[in-house]
């Protein structure tokens, strides 16, 4: 069934919060695990450690949330100013805008005469001309303008959720060392699961992709993560795998192969894609 374009747009806008979710959760998990490690070595009282970790979580969530709010707000201000400047230029020098849009379309593969006709058609509506030019020439549009409040709330909540991962085992296990071990285990599992999923998604494991997927990935500005090896000259599919790291065989089979995760994290471009 065809997806409603407006629904798809909302989906893309929601997906733009993935950055805040990932960043907030990862920070919440690691910061709280660090606080638990430090405090449980220094303070013998279990309750005090839990309270301190909760305080750290609250402060962290507030800090991250406010940081995300201010960051998105500043980004929106700068982008808004640039969009305003581009619109003024468009009103003062429409020919220049049309020429630039024509060049942008021609670079995307349209023939010059076809691009000319498209721009001429779009130019019948000044609003369409400006909005198309903003996206095609300047690479900016309404979709990239984040909502500061939503970003701040999502980041703060994600931080709290992340913090609960090490905090809950520690909270329910009164024995200091056992609780700490459980908290660290939960942290490792959570991080490991998340990174391992990322890795598989981009082909860090062994996946079959159609030829061109990698090129498409490159076109989206992501780093080419994997090497591709044609399975057979007659096959339309190729097998891809992580270029630098082989999966590390962990004797505990809990997926602790950090170098591999790190490699996939970096080489798949997930950081650049989500941040």
């Amino acid at each position: 069934m065809a997806i409603d374009p407006s629904e798809k747009r909302r989906l893309f806008e929601r997906l733009s919060n993935v950055r805040e979710v990932v960043f907030g959760m990862q920070d919440g998990v690691l910061t709280t695990a660090g606080v638990l490690c430090g405090l449980s070595g220094a303070v013998s009282d279990h309750t005090q450690v839990v309270l301190a970790a909760l305080a750290s979580t609250a402060a962290g969530a507030l800090s991250m949330g406010v940081g995300a709010y201010l960051g998105t707000n500043a980004e929106s201000d700068v982008l808004g100013a640039e969009i305003g400047r581009a619109r003024r230029e468009a009103e003062e020098h429409p020919y220049v805008l049309q020429e630039n849009l024509l060049e942008a379309l021609a670079k995307e593969g349209l023939s010059r005469d076809a691009a000319y006709r498209v721009v001429k058609l779009i130019s019948t509506s000044p609003r369409s001309l400006i909005s198309t030019a903003e996206e095609k020439i300047y690479g900016i549009g309404g979709g990239v303008m984040g909502n500061p409040l939503a970003d701040g709330v999502v980041m703060g909540v994600a931080f709290v959720v992340g913090a609960l991962v090490p905090l809950l085992p520690y909270f329910f296990i009164a024995n200091g060392r056992t609780g700490l071990a459980a908290a660290l285990g939960a942290t490792a599992l959570a991080l490991g699961r998340a990174l391992h999923d990322d890795c598989d998604e981009c082909g860090g494991g062994r996946l079959s992709h159609r030829p061109g997927d990698l090129a498409a990935r490159g076109n989206r500005g992501l780093a080419a993560p994997c090497i591709d090896t044609p399975r057979s000259p007659h096959s339309s599919r190729i097998t891809i795998r992580c270029a630098k790291f082989r999966p590390l065989r962990s004797p505990w089979k809990i997926g602790i192969c950090l170098p591999r995760w790190k490699n996939c994290w970096q080489s798949c471009g997930l950081r650049s894609a989500s941040h």
Binding site: L102, D113, Y116
Partner: protein
């Protein structure tokens, strides 16, 4: 850029006129004066205002015994399509695909490989009587070209803003 009184370089380029393609040489042009204008590209948004502007004033140029030639680095097929898009152009559009002629006139933008927005008026001996170049984003005035052509044809000293019918200096006065 080619200076005043320098001879225009000879050329033989494919040209598009009235839906037909033919080779055109400078020596093929029989009129006393030639307005030769370079423009950057077909299918752009400043150039058509000039190209159609010269087309609309073509009768006035012809009345001054002047031919008009438009030149760009586009292919002759592009010129055909472009002229059709503009509703027909009554003077030849020459295809200088390699930019050789534009370079010979000193008006080729080597980085973009397009001709600058330059105009030349050539006398009967095919030397440059008038030359001007406009910024790429600023279209030229066809009326100004026509005014200069008419002023040149008087052979007299024409003051600023001179227009046909106005007084001009005595014959033989140079400055």
């Amino acid at each position: 850029m080619l200076g005043l009184n320098e001879n225009a370089p000879a050329f033989e380029l494919p040209s598009a006129l009235n839906g037909r393609v033919s080779m055109m040489r400078l020596t093929d042009v029989r009129s006393e004066w030639i307005v030769l204008f370079f423009y950057p590209r077909d299918f752009s948004f400043v150039c058509p205002t000039e190209v159609t502007g010269f087309h609309r004033s073509l009768a006035e140029f012809e009345a001054e015994d002047c031919s008009v030639l438009g030149i760009s680095v586009d292919s002759v097929e592009s010129h055909m399509s472009w002229a059709h898009e503009l509703g027909g152009i009554g003077y030849p559009l020459l295809s200088d695909e390699g930019g050789t002629l534009a370079r010979a006139f000193g008006v080729l933008d080597e980085r973009e490989h397009v001709a600058q927005r330059a105009s030349f008026i050539l006398r009967k001996d095919r030397a440059v009587a008038y030359a001007m170049v406009s910024p790429v984003n600023v279209g030229r005035s066809v009326n100004e070209t026509l005014r200069v052509l008419r002023a040149l044809r008087t052979g007299r000293l024409c003051p600023a803003e001179w227009m046909p019918g106005m007084d001009f200096g005595p014959a033989g006065l140079k400055f």
